[in-house]
Amino acid sequence: MNDALDSGASPENGSDEPLVLDYTVVKDDFTRAGEASGDVKKKLRMAGINPAAIRKVSICMYEGEINMVIHADGGGIRVEIYGDRVRMILKDKGPGIKDVDKAMQAGWSTASEEARNLGFGAGMGLPNMKKNSDSMDIQTVIGTGTTVTMVVNY
C-alpha cells in the first residue's frame, strides 16, 4: 500500500500529501459500475472543490470505470486528492488496447451488446476522458491490461 502511495506522490513543487482513495472494480458488475465514481464525487464535494472541476473528475472517472467493467476483467482505481489537483489511476487486468490511436477516435468501439444495453459502448469514452482531463496517459500491454492515468487541476 504505502510504497505505491509514495511513488504516486512525487514531491513536485513540494506538494502536500494527498488524500488517497482505493477502489476495486469487478468485471461485469453492471449494477455497481459507477459506484466508485459516485463516492469520489461525494468526497470531493465535502472537500469543497469547485463544482466544474468535480464534474470533470466525475466524467473522467465514470467513463474509465465503465471501461474497466465492460472491456476488462476488472481492476483497481486509486484516486489521489491534492490541494490543487486530482490524479486518477485506473489499472485493469484485461485484453489491453490493440490500437490506442483508433480507440481515441470518437465513434470507434469494440464494446459488446451488453455494454450498449447499459447506455455505453458508442466509442465516446476515451475521447471524453481526454477532453475533461488536463493530462491523460495510457499504458497498455496486450493480454495483460491497461493503466490510464488522468489529472484534473483546479
Binding site: 453492471f30 463544482p51 464534474r55 466524467i59 465514470y62 447506455g119 465516446m124
Partner: protein, 115 residues
C-alpha cells in the same frame, strides 16, 4: 418552470423526490446513450431517457442533473429509486415517447443545452 409543471405537462408519475417538486428546470437533455449525456449535457437540470437501469441515475448524478424523466413507460426498479433518493434526485415517468415529451417541454419553454 418547476418540476411540478413538468409533471403536469408530460402527464408523468412521480416515483421519487416528491418533496422537491418546486425545483426549477431550465434546460434538459434527451438521450438513451449515457456517453452522450456525459459528453454533452452540461448545465442541464433534467434528463429524459428510455434507458431504465442504474447507469441512468449514476450518469445524471455525475452531471449534477437532479431530475430524470423516464419516457416510453420505462420503469426503474426499486434499487434504482433507492439510489436516486440517496442522491436526492427527483424521478419521473411518463408513457409518452421521447419525441413527444421533448416537444411538449420545448414548446413550454425548456431549452436544450448548447453544443
Amino acid at each position: 418552470m418547476t418540476i411540478r409543471d413538468v409533471v403536469s405537462i408530460t402527464n408523468a408519475k412521480v416515483l421519487a423526490g416528491e418533496e422537491d417538486l418546486d425545483r426549477e428546470i431550465t434546460t434538459a437533455f434527451g438521450s438513451d446513450l449515457m456517453s452522450d449525456v456525459l459528453a454533452y449535457a452540461k448545465d442541464c437540470s433534467m434528463l429524459m431517457t428510455g434507458l431504465a437501469n442504474a447507469q441512468a441515475i449514476r450518469t445524471a448524478d455525475m452531471m449534477d442533473i437532479g431530475c430524470v424523466l423516464f419516457v416510453r413507460g420505462k420503469m426503474p426498479d426499486e434499487q434504482m429509486l433507492e439510489l436516486a433518493r440517496d442522491k436526492e434526485m427527483v424521478i419521473l415517468q411518463t408513457n409518452s415517447f421521447m419525441f413527444t415529451t421533448c416537444g411538449k417541454l420545448y414548446a413550454a419553454g425548456i431549452s436544450g443545452g448548447t453544443l
